[in-house]
């Protein structure tokens, strides 16, 4: 046998052995990019802003969670929660645990939006001057809206004790670059959180255009401000902001109530753009976004889990001709042994209506009533505008008495339930605002009606203090 003994082969072997080199170690990611390369151009800033909307649409946030959860906490006699998600059962039972994953989801997602908007705001210099105001306005709108809802969910209500000492949420206004001592932020007060929201929303209202495709507009900011001022009991400002939206003529009530909840595809859902009534809505398509109102209210036929069953006497609140009652039906409308549900959210890729014109009429009505003013219209006229669209008999007078849920009662609060039930967490937020007692089994100012600060973040950030009622004894 020959022998393999060639010096050149030896050299080749040695070459092979030591040929490995450093450039083999610089491998870059493919479906993500380095944070230093992410925001360099105006287009990058716009993409980051779109990313903020993407985060807004998460299921625990404006995908619907932020509306479903407060309603669950305050509708013990209107619905039954028949699902097996313990986190939601805890809300329905008014016994939330500090590791509730839905609560922590809302918290985490909200700060993702805030960080996204902070990234946009820190890079405004890269935006062309013609787009700068709009970009700034949209980012501030989203941030302001999120701070407002965080304040309502994680802090005590504005009118419950002293907002200047009650803890709100940490306020973060700069984008995250690295972990440092500044990353550990304590909770601001409820008042400071509201102040941040007001500042953002006011600036947003000033800077955003009147129309802006399906994105937020000047009127989106005004509308949320109206809702915020109403929550604060600042009725003059609430009426003024609501009037700004109504008087702009940019929006109109759908001719019939059901048109606000379009589901033309039935069980084959199709995405529908904003209705003329939508002042701001989160877009849900088959590709992006989740409608978690659909998840919990709609039956499995309509791609939901069907966890929330509405009590069939809920529709007692509607008069005989009121078309709004038709949005509550049995699964099999001919069989009253089947489950009774709210059918507003049957379109699984339907938009989530964050705020719509009808609410602004009702805000203006209530604010004018409580303020003794008639900015834009009289309270009665506004309520009857809403009722007329729903084919309900007009009222002859209105008041702001506690809701009774009786047919055609004169309370604007009842009208809000008739018009807006299950859409915006109003059962809890209105309940607190009007100091309704009890809400479910507890008084309006119970600690149980405030979300706990998520346990994971309490552990991660020693500066965060837990809400009362959530500590081990």
């Amino acid at each position: 046998m020959k022998k393999f003994n060639n010096i050149y082969i030896g050299a080749l072997g040695a070459l092979l052995m030591f040929s490995a080199c450093n450039k083999q170690l610089d491998l870059n990611p493919h479906q993500s990019i380095d944070q230093n390369k992410a925001i360099l151009t105006a287009q990058d800033v716009q993409s980051t802003l779109v990313g903020a909307y993407n985060r807004m649409g998460l299921s625990d946030l404006y995908g619907g969670g932020v509306f479903v959860y407060p309603d669950l906490m305050a509708t013990q006699t209107d619905v039954s929660f028949n699902g097996t998600f313990q986190g939601l059962t805890q809300m329905a039972d008014q016994a939330i645990l500090i590791d509730n994953t839905f609560v922590s989801g809302t918290w985490q997602d909200a700060y993702q939006v805030i960080n996204q908007t902070n990234n946009v705001l820190a890079n405004l210099s890269k935006v062309a001057s013609g787009d700068k105001d709009r970009t700034e306005g949209e980012a501030k709108f989203l941030r302001g809206l999120v701070y407002f809802d965080l304040a309502r969910l994680f802090g005590k209500d504005w009118n419950d004790g002293d907002p200047n000492t009650n803890p709100g949420v940490p306020i973060v206004l700069t984008p995250t670059v690295a972990l440092g001592p500044d990353s550990y932020v304590a909770r601001a007060t409820v008042a400071a959180t509201y102040a941040q929201a007001i500042a953002d929303l006011t600036d947003a209202e000033a800077k955003m255009p009147e129309t802006n495709s399906f994105y937020a507009t000047k009127y989106s900011a005004a509308a949320i401000l109206a809702r915020l001022y109403l929550q604060q009991g600042n009725y003059a400002k609430a009426a003024t902001e609501a009037n700004t939206v109504i008087a702009s003529g940019a929006f109109e009530l759908n001719t019939n109530y059901a048109a606000e909840f379009p589901n033309p595809g039935g069980v084959n859902p199709v995405h529908i753009d904003n209705t003329p009534e939508d002042v701001f809505a989160i877009q849900v398509t088959s590709q992006q976004g989740t409608n978690s109102l659909n998840t919990y209210y709609a039956s499995k036929t309509y791609a939901g889990r069907g966890d929330i069953h509405v009590n069939d006497n809920f529709t007692d609140i509607y008069g005989a001709t009121d078309t709004r009652a038709a949005l509550y039906q049995y699964d099999d409308p001919t069989d009253n042994t089947t489950t009774f549900r709210c059918r507003k959210f049957d379109n699984s890729i339907g938009n989530v209506h964050v705020i719509r014109l009808a609410e602004l009429y009702l805000i203006r009505a209530e604010s004018n009533f409580r303020n003794g003013s008639s900015i834009g219209a009289t309270p009665l006229a506004d309520v009857n505008t809403i009722r007329a669209r729903a084919k309900a008999t007009p009222l002859t007078a209105v008041n702001v008495d506690a809701p009774t849920q009786l047919a055609d009662s004169k309370s604007i609060l009842d009208e809000r339930i008739r018009e807006l039930a299950f859409e915006g967490g109003f059962f809890l937020h209105d309940g607190k605002r009007i100091q309704q007692s009890p809400i479910g089994a507890v008084p309006y100012n119970s600690n149980k009606l405030v979300f706990p600060i998520p346990k994971q973040d309490i552990n991660a950030n020693p500066k965060l203090k837990q809400n009362p009622g959530y500590g081990a004894e």
Binding site: S32, D93, T176
Partner: protein, 1028 residues
């Protein structure tokens, strides 16, 4: 054991010599002890131009020797080498046995060593001992065979993920699986499953091709693998051919599986009783909460009567149906397996060619696994000092998978359905819940997974090529160069389809289809030089040095479609709506340099040192290179003069090793700050997804190992004991950071933990001779403790598993359940706050928020062990292995549904829930049933139970026909056998099976959770083995 080894070689390496020449020296080689012929003994001439041959089946050889040859050398594994002078034309040899463990060649990283010269801790399992086990993958077959190796299945689904931990788990957030190296090439172990539960990439390997498993445990053995070695290394060597006539081996087995255990749920009457009691319980609470003024109003509100009728398919006599849904989840599960291989070789070329067809049916309806595998191992001498070869394995595996344990569509979730619901809805004649019998999607209680069996599929096809080419060059005497180039290429296609009848589950009315392709190409290039020499008789030196380069590239794409024209159309091509799609890529690389030196003086004093320098693309720019040294010493005391006279002692060796290894198993880009796409309504967007950490590096594990190997009576009784302590620091930890930063964690090098334990392995040939009985036993103890996480409590999404300083990884931590309040049936929890005197407050509360969380138990067994007994008599062989795991608890994460005293949904309940609190004064652990009032259903120790068990893992009974009989029909071997797997189980665990970890949430931290997880199969097969 020695006889075992002998028969092992007989089985696989028998051959007869066919190359004799006319002028030859002939002879017979026999065992000195009993005179039996020894086949396969290497006979070579001693001299400058060696000639050689091997003995045939009868121990005979014939060899032409060059003129002037004076001595023949006889070598045979397990025997002492013998040099005999040539005295005539005939030379017989009697070989003396050598304690086998000393001369047995053990595969180590980048080389081989004799067991006697090892200073590291290596557990060896012979491929033969586990071949033909009726399971899918080799990990299952290895259970109980090696000390310190804990192998845990997630459940009884075929081809699903399996956790192996060697000497405990040494990482919290990075990988914990050992590195698997097949024939020198690192194997890709990336899980490519996209259904939310892991699948097992090693299921592509036909383990009947495997010659041996070496499990490297301590730093002396593993540090040569540097940054990839902290979790231990499994070196697999596949079968090679041997010079001689072709041997054909055929193996077939058939059998079937059944669930190894069932769990009992309520029947219709029992279920109605507890649900009706839950209505009363709920109504009572409604009144207490002030929702209703009177009990009558509350009862009217809570009443379920019409719902019961609804669930009973419209039958108002609810209990007329009594469905045992649990039994409906299972199917009869036949399996068959065929292996055929041919091996042999000339003096220049050897080959092993094998193939396998395996077809297993799972115990859960719809589950199936098939594997078709081929192997070619070939080695040829190109020049007398250069041989090249190839080890190539190609496999097609096909898995009909099921939804993960968290889905309504996984078969075992149907246990939640009401017993009053019929399997077949009499109104439609279809499986309950099948449209059109389900007008609103809410019948039955949950989606009926049985609908999926015929109306949905999830097929995974994996095409895998795993192979390497190598060249071995003896450059000069003592100096060898080896070059290896290996590819592990995996192409996986997952094709799933859910037709219109599954709409209630998918939320998609006219069908949903998805097709996912993932491929990984993983290259390894190893080049190394070995120098082996013995100086002045007493000094032996063995040096290895080289480089390794590894590169992995994952490419994936996915497409989803909805709206199919009819249920006959199943591919996304037919979908009117392409609802989703993506393509992805991910890469990593390692560049490494390594060296090792072994020195022995008089085979008594052993010294070894190794070092590896690893760089990886995964690490931060500031920390690219890591150095991993190890050193070890051994002292063969039995060679010392003061012990030489102790005749019965055949081996006594003390070993000590210390070294550093790393763990680099994190995401490919964990050190970078990242933005990722985040679109909105069809418009492009981006979002921040990862916070940079340029300092990120590998985890470091410093391991001390002290061991002793001993053998008595010529190693008829032998054993190994090791004590180890593995200290891991710079843990690659997903550290929770303030979520107000818009991100929940950052991967940091933070934290410390240790694993400490011992391993004992004993082997004994209890009887030798005609009746043979040998026993091998192993037990290991491991204590895992996390010592530092900067105070952070880490939670990976499971109900109770946490990482907390001072506790083991994944410790169950939460509220301690205290049973039902005898007064009112409220679920109670111990307050457990630490009082002024330092003790825990054992008062109770009904508000879990007020109770302090405490450690509730370990999820990982402290002790694991196995015992195997093998008997041989007159051609019969019987072998059985018991495997046991002790000292852990298991959390039934589904307890909040199935054992909730009907306080959460209308799910069917386990039998023990009937013992519920019913009236004041009742003392019970089951609180009052209160429908939807979550009375005691929050995560707590209520759902923990002991996970200790002993299992008869395998039994093999075989009969080998006498060779004399077979000679007439020219057959070498015929064996018929029966295999039984998981024949019985002893445990206090209340669930289906203590070998469990819910597949959808199994992580390093989420351990020992049960969530509708399938039990292990009990499998019995019958087989035939023929050798020609």
């Amino acid at each position: 054991m020695k006889k075992n080894l002998l028969s092992f070689f007989l089985l696989f390496f028998c051959f007869s010599l066919a190359y004799g020449q006319s002028r030859a020296i002939k002879g017979k080689v026999t065992d000195q002890k009993d005179g039996s012929p020894l086949p396969g003994v290497t006979v070579t001439t001693k001299g400058a131009a060696p000639a050689g041959t091997q003995t045939d089946l009868n121990g005979l050889y014939s060899l032409t020797v060059p003129a002037g040859t004076k001595t023949l050398v006889f070598k045979y594994i397990g025997y002492k080498e013998s040099d005999l002078p040539i005295t005539g034309n005939t030379l017989d040899a009697q070989l003396e046995t050598d304690p086998k463990q000393l001369t047995e060649v053990v595969v180590v990283g980048y080389g081989t060593q004799k067991r006697g010269s090892l200073t590291g801790s290596i557990a060896s399992v012979s491929g033969k001992d586990v071949a033909e086990t009726p399971v899918t993958t080799f990990e299952q077959a290895l259970q109980g065979k090696a000390a310190g190796v804990n192998i845990q299945a997630q459940g009884g689904k075929l081809g699903q993920g399996i956790t192996i931990s060697i000497r405990g788990q040494s990482s919290i957030s990075a990988g914990t699986q050992p590195l698997v190296v097949i024939d020198g090439i690192i194997v890709n172990q990336t899980d490519l499953s996209s259904n939310g539960a892991t699948s097992n990439p090693l299921a592509d390997i036909n383990f009947n091709d495997i010659e041996s498993y070496q499990i490297l445990k301590d730093a002396a053995a593993t540090a040569i693998y540097g940054a990839r070695a902290s979790n231990g290394v499994v070196l697999i060597t596949t079968k090679k051919g041997k010079t001689g006539n072709a041997k054909i081996n055929f193996n077939a087995q058939f059998g079937s599986s059944a669930p190894s255990r069932h769990r009992q749920f309520l029947n219709s009457d029992q279920w109605l009783k507890i649900e009706q009691r839950a209505v009363v319980g709920a109504a009572t609470q409604d009144v207490l909460n002030g929702y209703f003024d009177t009990m009558a109003d509350a009862l009217a509100y809570e009443n379920d009567d019409s719902y019961f009728t609804f669930l009973a398919a419209g039958n108002s006599k609810w209990n007329q149906t009594n469905t045992d849904w649990e039994k409906q989840a299972f199917q009869s599960a036949p399996q068959q397996q065929y292996d055929l291989n041919v091996s042999g070789g000339s003096d220049k070329t050897t080959y092993f060619i094998g193939m396998q067809a395996l077809n297993q049916t799972g115990i859960l309806k719809g589950n199936k696994f098939q594997r078709y595998s081929g192997r070619v191992n070939i080695d040829t001498k190109v020049f007398s000092n250069l041989d090249v070869g190839m080890n190539l394995n190609f496999t097609h595996s096909y898995n009909q998978r099921l939804s993960n344990d968290d889905q309504f569509s996984t078969p075992l979730q149907i246990v939640a359905l009401s017993p009053i619901t019929p399997v077949i809805d009499p109104r439609t004649g279809l499986i309950s819940g099948t449209p059109p019998g389900d007008h609103d999607g809410s019948y039955p209680l949950y989606y009926n997974a049985l609908i999926n069996v015929k109306n949905a599929y999830y097929h995974t096809n994996v095409y895998r090529t795993l192979g390497n080419v190598f060249a071995n060059w003896d450059i000069v005497k003592h100096l060898t160069f080896r070059s290896e180039f290996g590819i592990d290429q995996t192409n996986q296609n997952e094709d799933s389809y859910f037709n219109s009848l599954t709409a209630a589950d998918t939320g998609t009315p006219n069908g949903f289809g998805e097709n996912t392709n993932t491929s990984i190409v993983h290259y390894t290039v190893n080049n190394f030089i070995t120098y082996k020499n013995i100086f002045s008789q007493d000094h032996s030196l063995d040096i290895t040095g080289g480089t390794s380069y590894e590169y992995s590239n994952l490419l994936g794409n996915d497409v989803q479609g909805k709206q199919f024209p009819s249920d006959s159309y199943k591919k996304v091509a037919s979908a009117a709506l392409i609802s989703g799609g993506s393509s992805t890529q991910s890469e990593y690389s390692f560049v490494s340099y390594f060296a090792r030196a072994n020195y022995a003086f008089k085979s008594k004093y052993l010294l070894s040192a190794s070092v590896r320098d690893d760089a990886s693309s995964r690490f931060g720019a500031n920390n690219r290179y890591g150095v991993f040294p190890a050193a070890s010493v051994g002292w063969m005391m039995s060679q010392e003069s003061f012990l030489k006279n102790w005749q019965s002692l055949s081996e006594l060796k003390l070993r000590a090793s210390y070294g550093l290894t790393g763990n680099a198993e994190i995401g490919d880009y964990s050190s970078l700050g990242l933005f990722t796409s985040a679109g909105y309504n069809g418009l492009a967007g981006q979002r921040f997804t990862q916070l940079a950490n340029p300092n990120l590096k590998w985890e470091k594990t410093a391991q001390l190992d002290l061991g002793v190997d001993f053998g008595f009576f010529n190693n008829r009784f032998s054993g190994t004991f090791d004590y180890y302590k593995k200290n891991t620091r710079d843990l690659l930890l997903n550290v929770n950071i303030p979520e107000t930063m818009g991100i929940a964690f950052q991967t940091q090098n933070l934290g410390k933990l240790y694993n400490r334990g011992f391993e004992l392995t004993l082997a004994s040939d209890n009887f030798v001779g005609k009746f043979k009985w040998n026993t091998s036993f192993n037990v290991s103890y491991n204590l895992n403790k996390v010592t530092y996480t900067n105070g952070q409590i880490i939670d990976d999404g499971a109900d109770l598993n946490r990482v907390i300083e001072g506790q083991e990884i994944g410790v169950f931590y939460g509220h301690e359940f205290a049973g039902a309040d005898p007064k009112n049936g409220d679920a109670l929890y111990y307050l457990n706050n630490i009082q002024a005197d330092g003790t825990r407050n054992r008062a109770t509360t009904n508000d879990p928020n007020k109770a302090t969380e405490v450690p509730l138990g370990n999820p990982t067994p402290r002790y694991t062990g196995g015992i195997t007994n093998t008997f041989n008599y007159m051609g019969f062989d019987l072998s059985f292995t018991f495997y046991g795991a002790f000292g852990n608890k298991i959390y039934n994460a589904a307890g909040q549904y199935m054992s909730s005293s009907a306080s959460n949904g209308l799910d069917n309940q386990t039998l023990d829930q009937l013992n519920y609190w019913n009236k004041p004064g009742d003392i019970t652990q089951v609180p009052e049933p209160r429908q939807f009032y979550a009375n005691g259903t929050d995560p707590s120790s209520r759902y923990l139970s002991s996970g200790s068990y002993v299992r008869l893992k395998t039994v093999t009974l075989g009969y080998t026909f006498s060779p004399d009989l077979l000679k007439k029909v020219k057959i070498d071997k015929v064996r018929i056998f029966m295999n039984a797997y998981n024949l019985f189980l002893i445990t206090k665990y209340k669930g289906w099976d203590p070998e469990v970890n819910a597949d959808f949430q199994a992580t390093n931290i989420n351990l020992s959770n049960d969530f509708y997880s399938a039990p292990q199969p009990r499998t019995i097969t019958f087989g035939l083995n023929v050798g020609l």
